[in-house]
Symmetry: C2
Subunit: 384 residues, 2 copies
């Protein structure tokens, strides 16, 4: 009976207006109605990507779009740089290795960002790099890489394409694809875009299109040239995820009504509230303030508490559902997703319930310390 | 205001119960709730496939699943046979060529089936064929290939895997994957399965798994071994199309409530009604009775009528939405989809409106001849 409070870093809750939009009658993907829906909706996504380029919609998960970005630009044997600061950076490495690309991997310890100095130093001795891949928001650690600065380094130090995985943040963070010099930007539907999983977004710079036109990829479903060709007609090469595009249109309504700058500010505020609360409860967070993700916070196990038992208790007793740590961070952190259809009031709710759980586990803290700290950040933001 | 009567061969209308199921709250794809949903739902699809094998669910269109079937079993330079009797067979050829497979193409004129004799003769001089690809239901022409017989020929005449594209028919026609000897069977969500686009289904025989285990495909997102590995845990390698799996569960409710044999009989009946009506109206159909598809009928332009104008008129005036012809059949046929959430009453409605349109175009016919013929077939079926 109790509703599950889903605070994962994706999939995230769906707004009722999006659900209703998705319940509209199916239309043919070769009809004028569809062309109108496709053109209007993809145009509305452009400001969220900070681009004037076409937004290509793939009926797939984000991983497929990442693979598309890779296989359409690089050929087997060619050299690439992959920045990996966590599990999703490693994903990129796996994709590259599977396709026989020679990946130079810039690794940073989980919980740290890749700085522009890191990247500049790493690129220095390399030549003939075809592409540099970076995860904008590393979902496994809650780090937002400084993509704007990294883009600058790539442009200064190489001729490589700069390809960015924006899956777990686009829609909740600022990005200026054209202005910053991102060549391919990818995201998925089920994170800050407030949609169910199953739709991927790809946008490509003129520079990258030139490379793609020369590329001889064998990919069929993930062939970006087909998506471009059909997008010019307001359509997709195969049957698109029509319901999700209806939903996307409704998600754009919501973002436009709030104002995208405000959407970004809301994510920033939620992050600050969570971090202030954890500090007040003497619970560590994995990342420094400087590169902390506005969409997900990795929180350390509270001292003396078995994390797996604690998360199980929060879910069973309070219906509050967090994600655990991945890979080397399993059992050490939990991940609090605060993106998309999530509001400061949801943060207050979740922190109250975390405090309830901490009491059940006899964790020593001043009652309401966390919630008070979060409230304070919230109230200060109202005054601005 | 008028509701659009979508009679395309996919995407098809969505039952309200499916829409409502898809509006449930999103859950984590790594939760016990998801594992239960995934296991229960995929088990319910097995009888529709006629298999005891796992049903793998890809968050993608059917085309991606077809490509997965190809790239996971065949390697560049290897020889395959593709049976192409229309546009979707040609799709398969394109996929094979894109991947550098040597495709021997058995082509039949559009509107004809591939018989077991055709295939036996074609296979005779060939050796070392790795796989034979066949479209079960050719959506561009409305032909249901005799897949049961073709499977037998493949087994007798070669060691090749037999791979079947069931996209536009599975859920509405009989298929016994295990018994007939189909090695890989693929379908999509947006046809007879009564779901929105975005979910693909793949099932694989033990024999094909052995080949896949040896295959060195570079595919990452479409890697079937990953899907199998995760399916054994009741999950998918990446974020699945959760809402569509909720919807699939509701679609299974509907099919089980009707009884799958009855679902198949309903599709057969709808086909017979459409064909009887066209005959009574002296309007041709593209295909012979023997191989006529139970899910889509390709209807010839009524004599003396400009088809494009006629279809535009039906849509504008009567809100009845048919698909036109593809490729060489453009302007010559229209395609009447009768699959999934479509009932004999819908056929009566559509035929009535076709007759209205014919009157508007001064086509000469005995009033109500088509609808009477369809009614007769319908009433006779009630007596059985």
């Amino acid at each position: 009976m109790y509703s599950n409070i889903l605070r994962h870093p994706g999939p995230t809750p769906i707004p009722k207006k999006v659900q209703l939009a998705m319940s509209q009658d199916i239309i043919s993907h070769r009809s004028e109605e569809f062309v109108k829906l496709f053109r209007e909706t993809t145009n509305r996504v452009k400001p969220i990507f900070g681009t004037k380029q076409e937004i290509l919609l793939l009926p797939s998960g984000g991983t497929a779009a990442l693979e598309a970005a890779v296989v359409n630009t690089v050929s087997p044997g060619e050299e690439v740089v992959v920045v990996s600061i966590g599990a999703f950076g490693d994903y990129f490495v796996s994709i590259c290795e599977k396709h026989g690309f020679h990946a130079h991997v810039l690794r940073k310890p989980w919980g740290e960002a890749c700085t522009s100095e890191d990247l500049a130093t790493f690129l220095e001795p390399l030549s003939n790099i075809k592409a540099v891949f970076v995860t904008y928001n590393e979902t496994s650690t809650g780090i937002l890489n400084p993509v704007k600065e990294l883009a600058k380094v790539v442009r200064e130090k190489s001729d490589a394409l700069f390809i960015v995985d924006g899956v777990s943040c686009i829609g909740g963070v600022p990005v200026k694809m054209d202005q910053w010099g991102i060549d391919i930007l990818v995201t998925g539907s089920q994170k800050a875009m407030m949609l169910p999983p199953g739709l991927a977004f790809v946008s490509v710079s003129d520079r990258a299109w030139k490379v793609i036109e020369e590329n001889k990829t064998s990919a069929y479903y993930l062939n970006l040239l087909s998506y471009r060709e059909w997008a010019q007609k307001g359509m997709t090469p195969n049957t698109p995820a029509i319901t999700l595009i209806y939903g996307l249109s409704a998600a754009c309504d919501l973002i436009e009504a709030e104002g995208f700058d405000q959407t970004v500010a809301r994510h920033e505020l939620m992050k600050d509230m969570v971090r202030a609360a954890m500090k007040a409860l003497s619970i560590g967070v994995l990342t420094s303030d400087e590169y902390a993700s506005p969409t997900i916070t990795a929180i350390m196990a509270p001292e003396g508490i078995n994390l797996s038992q604690f998360l199980g208790h929060l879910k069973k007793q309070y219906h509050l559902d967090f994600a655990g740590g991945l890979g080397e961070l399993q059992g050490k952190i939990f991940r609090f997703g605060h993106m998309g259809y999530c509001f400061p009031s949801d943060i207050l709710q979740a922190i109250s319930l975390i405090e309830a759980g901490l009491q059940d586990f006899n964790y020593s803290f001043e009652p309401a310390a966390g919630i008070s700290a979060a409230q304070k950040v919230f109230l200060e933001a109202q005054k601005k």
